[in-house]
């Protein structure tokens, strides 16, 4: 579904991604772990071109998406993204947050979009918050709304960029719960996270990144129980203790 070939990303002199190759298959939940600054978030943000790659190719559903001729907006419609800092639109109600893009981008009618939004709100357990502004919500609630907003576009894949890192500990669970149910429905997901327990439980495949590349990958059992690379071993020793 997503294929990444020799991806490089430089910020000035910083060489953040150093020739990453990866593939995300349909229906798969891939969890990206690794130390801070290893390039996990950058890799994820390159997948929908929120970050422009310096070099290399990214294919989505068979098409190279980082060519000049390619319609980026069309691709982004099919890739939902959830951010660490939620990024809800503060000047709109929850319902408007969710329906804005379906109406403006997909051309859905207001009533159709609102019906879909209400179903999604029900799914994330926040039906009663439709007409509330984001400032009145807790962090966990905001992130669940952000997930609903991304889902309203009916994406083929969901990208999660440290979705629980900005949350108070007691709110992490409710967000992970929503993500878990999404995974069970067969959504293709790429998740950058520090929640190792969640990675183990929900991930089909783990990518461990360090120093701008994928150092090790495998099933959760392979990576967590018997890490091969010394840097993976060191990282896991630090996080698990």
């Amino acid at each position: 579904m997503i294929k990444i070939e020799q991806l490089h990303k430089r910020f000035g002199k910083l060489h953040i991604l150093q020739g990453v190759n990866a593939e995300i298959r349909q229906g798969e939940v891939v969890v990206v772990i690794g130390p801070s600054g290893s390039g996990k978030s950058t890799l994820l943000r390159c997948m929908n071109l929120i970050e422009e790659p310096s070099d290399g190719k990214i294919y989505f559903e068979g098409q190279c998406i980082n060519e000049k001729a390619h319609d980026v907006n069309n691709t982004r419609e099919k890739m939902g993204m959830v951010f660490q800092s939620f990024n809800l639109f503060p000047h709109m109600t929850v319902l408007d947050n969710i329906t804005l893009a379906p109406i403006k981008v997909k051309g859905q009618s207001k009533s159709e979009a609102e019906q879909i939004a209400m179903n999604l709100l029900h799914k994330v357990g926040l039906s009663d918050k439709a007409h509330v502004y984001p400032s009145k919500l807790s962090g966990g609630q905001k992130q669940r709304i952000a997930i609903a907003r991304a889902l309203a576009m009916k994406p083929h894949v969901m990208l999660f960029d440290e979705p629980t890192s900005a949350l108070d500990p007691e709110m992490v669970g409710e967000v992970l719960e929503v993500m878990k149910s999404l995974a069970q429905e067969g959504m293709t997901m790429v998740i950058v996270t520090h929640e190792m327990g969640f990675a183990k439980e929900v991930g089909d495949r783990i990518l461990f990144m360090d120093g701008g590349n994928i150092v090790e990958e495998g099933t959760p059992e392979e990576v967590f129980q018997a890490p091969k690379h010394p840097r993976t071993q060191e990282f896991l020793r630090k996080v698990i203790n």
Binding site: M79, G80, N87, F89, H91, A101, P134, S135, R149, M153
Partner: protein
């Protein structure tokens, strides 16, 4: 009190002048806001020459006195314009430079994550600007815009030098008629204050209305 006696006695002249000042202000604001928006989009555009042009405009119009600008427009241009039009053009051109800078601060102050979220949903750059960035930018710079509008009300008084019969011009006329500088000029100050104070209240109300919902 002499001030109120003078105000009352010459109420028609004061009112007439205030009417001209008000109309001049409204036209200048309208002109300035439209031009200011144009300038800010030039300044933030990808095209280098547009950026340069907008920056040069802003520097020149902020860096030279409004009085000089007004006199050039009224006396020194090859095309003849009437006094009112000259006033609107001068005050509008001048305030556009300030408004453009206020708008720019507002747009650049919108969190980058907002743009990323909108773009990640497939919205185009234009849609993102229109539905996400500009509404938030305007909210955050509303106090500064209000301030600029108040400045505009006061600065229109400069048109008296080209003989446009605004509030200031009429007040000065009353001064020479009555030989009483204090009541005639303080009268003008009072009328100006009523206008600026109303503007400030109006903006304050708008601010509260917008902020009740979405204060972060």
């Amino acid at each position: 009190m002499a001030v109120f006696e003078t105000l009352w006695e010459y109420k028609e002249m004061y009112l007439q002048g205030a009417g001209v000042t008000l109309l001049l202000t409204l036209c200048s604001i309208l002109f300035g806001v439209i031009l200011g928006f144009g300038l800010v989009f030039m300044r933030l555009s990808e095209v280098k020459s547009l950026r340069w042009l907008a920056t040069a405009y802003i520097e020149v119009f902020r860096g030279t006195p409004l009085l000089v600008q007004l006199l050039i427009i009224y006396f020194a241009l090859p095309i003849q314009v009437d006094k009112f039009t000259a006033g609107v053009i001068a005050v509008g051109l001048n305030s556009a430079a300030y408004l453009a800078e206020i708008f720019r601060a507002g747009i650049q102050g919108v969190d980058k994550g907002q743009v990323e979220a909108a773009r990640s949903l497939g919205m185009t750059q234009k849609q993102t600007m229109r539905f996400i960035v500009i509404p938030q930018a305007l909210r955050s710079v509303l106090p500064a815009i209000g301030n600029e509008f108040i400045v505009i009300i006061k600065e229109t008084s400069i048109v008296m030098v080209i003989g446009l019969a605004d509030l200031m011009y009429n007040a000065d006329l009353i001064r020479t008629k009555t030989y009483q500088p204090f009541p005639s000029l303080v009268g003008a100050a009072i009328v100006y204050f009523i206008m600026t104070f109303s503007m400030s209240k109006l903006i304050g109300r708008l601010e509260r209305k917008l902020n009740t919902n979405d204060k972060n």
